[in-house]
């Protein structure tokens, strides 16, 4: 768990991060979103003390980060930046081994960990371990960057626009993979982005920053239904708002008894996808199937739409 308390950073007389407090629960993903220059990166970099706070403090699992030597602190916190900063003179395996090596792990343990991570990120060790970063595609470099950050099993991962350099198709896949890996490892993540879609896709909670201030820190649904300020309302997008809300709601919520004609929708899907299938198939309702393929009910356009607006 991370507790950020009244964190402030000034450069001269400009305040770059202004009295920000927030808390990230164990195993949760907090996304910090805001326009360029809002102070997101500075906030993130104060967590691993790449930037020293002017005021306020950061607690990790209750421990004040100022009481830990900074290099030791950083060994315990994974860090991924836009562009990744892979070491060009080191192979993929050596890059991933960076922190374990700094920690003095034995070579057998390091090799085993590297292979494990390569497998986890769907990079065949036989093919990739000895390659150099310049021989990798953008998507592969990104995966190596995250694998390197996770090498010493940090409980906390900081990511600064980690998908910013990827094109749309690869980015969507990388986001899905990150979610899957995060759910599996239970790593707490603080991720910075300026991409609202990314924030809604990944965030358990979203922190909206503007001009050094934290405007709102809430679940995606709250952000949509109860925006704290006009700026938040504009940032989440008044046009996309209903659809974002639907994408955050599972099919279960609008499940109705009875049956319907057509290709069934999975119970695990979200309402936005369900609506999309309804519109495309030209039907008023479709059957819903559980993971075993058993029809458990149906879903209708009217039922879905009721979930696309804040509760009265």
């Amino acid at each position: 768990m991370i507790e950020i308390e009244h964190l402030t950073r000034r450069y001269g007389s400009t305040v770059v991060v202004d009295d920000v407090s927030l808390r990230v629960e164990e195993g949760a993903i907090a996304v910090v979103v805001g326009t360029s220059g809002a102070g997101k990166s500075t906030l993130l970099r104060m967590i691993n003390r790449l930037v020293e706070p002017s005021a306020g403090r950061v607690l990790i699992d209750g421990q004040d980060t100022r009481t830990v030597p900074e290099d030791e602190l950083r060994h315990r916190i994974g860090y991924v930046i836009q562009g990744y900063g892979l070491f060009p003179h080191r192979t993929v395996a050596e890059n991933i081994a960076t922190v374990p090596r700094l920690l003095g792990w034995g070579s057998k343990r390091i090799a085993a960990r590297v292979n494990e991570l390569l497998d986890l990120f769907q990079l065949d060790p036989a093919e990739f371990a000895r390659k150099f970063p310049h021989q990798l595609s953008g998507g592969q470099q990104q995966r190596v960057g995250v694998a390197r950050a996770l090498a010493a099993r940090p409980a906390l991962l900081l990511m600064d626009e980690p998908f910013g350099a990827l094109d749309a198709v690869i980015r969507a896949k990388a986001q899905e993979d990150l979610l899957a890996i995060q759910r599996r490892l239970g790593t707490t993540i603080v991720l910075v982005t300026h991409d609202m879609n990314e924030a809604f896709q990944l965030g358990d909670r979203i922190a909206v920053m503007d001009q050094a201030r934290l405007l709102q820190y809430a679940t995606p649904t709250e952000l949509l239904t109860r925006p704290a300020e006009d700026f938040v309302e504009r940032l989440v997008g008044t046009v996309e708002r209903p659809f974002r809300l639907l994408s955050l709601t599972g099919v279960q919520a609008a499940l109705e008894p009875g049956g319907a004609e057509g290709e069934p929708i999975a119970l695990s899907d979200n309402l936005q996808n369900a609506l999309s299938q309804l519109v495309w198939s030209g039907r008023e309702s479709l059957p819903v199937a559980d993971p075993n393929g058993v029809i458990v009910g149906r879903i209708s356009v009217g039922g879905i739409l009721a979930h696309g607006r804040p509760p009265a």
Binding site: E72, R74, I81, H89, L102, H134, R148, L158
Partner: protein
């Protein structure tokens, strides 16, 4: 390197070795250049020992320049040394604009005749290329790479030795190569202040008006320069490759 260029380099090395060890074998080629029955081949000392002294002083001076220039380059790119960057740049530049013959003229009264003044001149002369290349090598390391290294908890020392220096190495080696080549030629001037070296052969030729001597001294120095240049270039490319980059990126 193509088979052809390896062959020509090998041949040049072989010819040079034969010439240094047994110069008399080539007397026939230099005879047409002499007049009045003057000797065709340098006869006032062993070419082999002159070549060795020549190389020794060049290697010694370059090593000294390398140690000082690399240390200086590292120092002025650390936070504590940044203030000295402009000063050290101008100091080293002065070393370069000073003609070597003037350095000799100043050094002789201070340290006497012989190898010392030559060593000083070569040392000062060798500093600039190595210093400049150390600087550019260290400063061209991507800020992203350094940010990542710092973010993963590498200490300043670990960043220097594990990231910055290895990445700067090919560029630093280029500086050392330039320095060696300049010194090889400049060292011939050392013979005017009685340092043993291939300059003796050229000076003997000038004094006795013997073109054959001048040519012999010049040829040996030139061949040494070409071969050493090639050898070091190969080493640079090998390092660059080991750093995981195609060689063309570092030249």
């Amino acid at each position: 390197m193509s088979a052809f260029s390896i062959l020509t380099r090998g041949l040049a090395l072989f010819m040079l070795a034969v010439f240094i060890f047994a110069p008399q074998l080539f007397a026939f080629a230099f005879e047409p250049l002499t007049a009045n029955n003057a000797p065709a081949i340098y006869n006032q000392g062993s070419l082999l020992s002159l070549t060795l002294s020549h190389l020794r002083i060049v290697v010694g001076a370059t090593l000294a320049s390398t140690v000082v220039a690399v240390a200086l380059g590292i120092f002025v790119t650390r936070p504590a040394g940044l203030d000295f960057l402009p000063l050290s740049r101008s100091l080293v530049n002065v070393g370069q604009t000073f003609p070597p013959i003037a350095v000799l003229a100043i050094a002789v009264p201070l340290v006497g005749f012989g190898e010392k003044p030559t060593f000083i001149a070569l040392f000062l002369y060798g500093l600039l290329p190595i210093f400049e290349n150390t600087l550019s090598g260290l400063t061209q390391v991507s800020p992203l790479t350094l940010e990542a290294a710092k973010g993963m908890g590498m200490s300043p020392r670990q960043r220097l030795f594990q990231i910055e220096l290895p990445l700067a190495l090919p560029v630093i080696l280029t500086g050392i190569r330039l320095s060696v080549i300049i010194s090889l030629g400049t060292a011939t001037i050392g013979s005017t202040v009685a340092a043993k070296g291939l300059g003796e052969v050229i000076i003997a030729g000038l004094q006795s008006n013997n073109v054959a001597f001048i040519l012999q001294g010049g040829l040996v120095v030139a061949l040494l320069a070409v071969l050493i240049h090639d050898g070091l270039s190969v080493a640079e490319r090998a390092v660059a490759r080991r750093l995981g980059r195609p060689a063309d990126e570092t030249t």
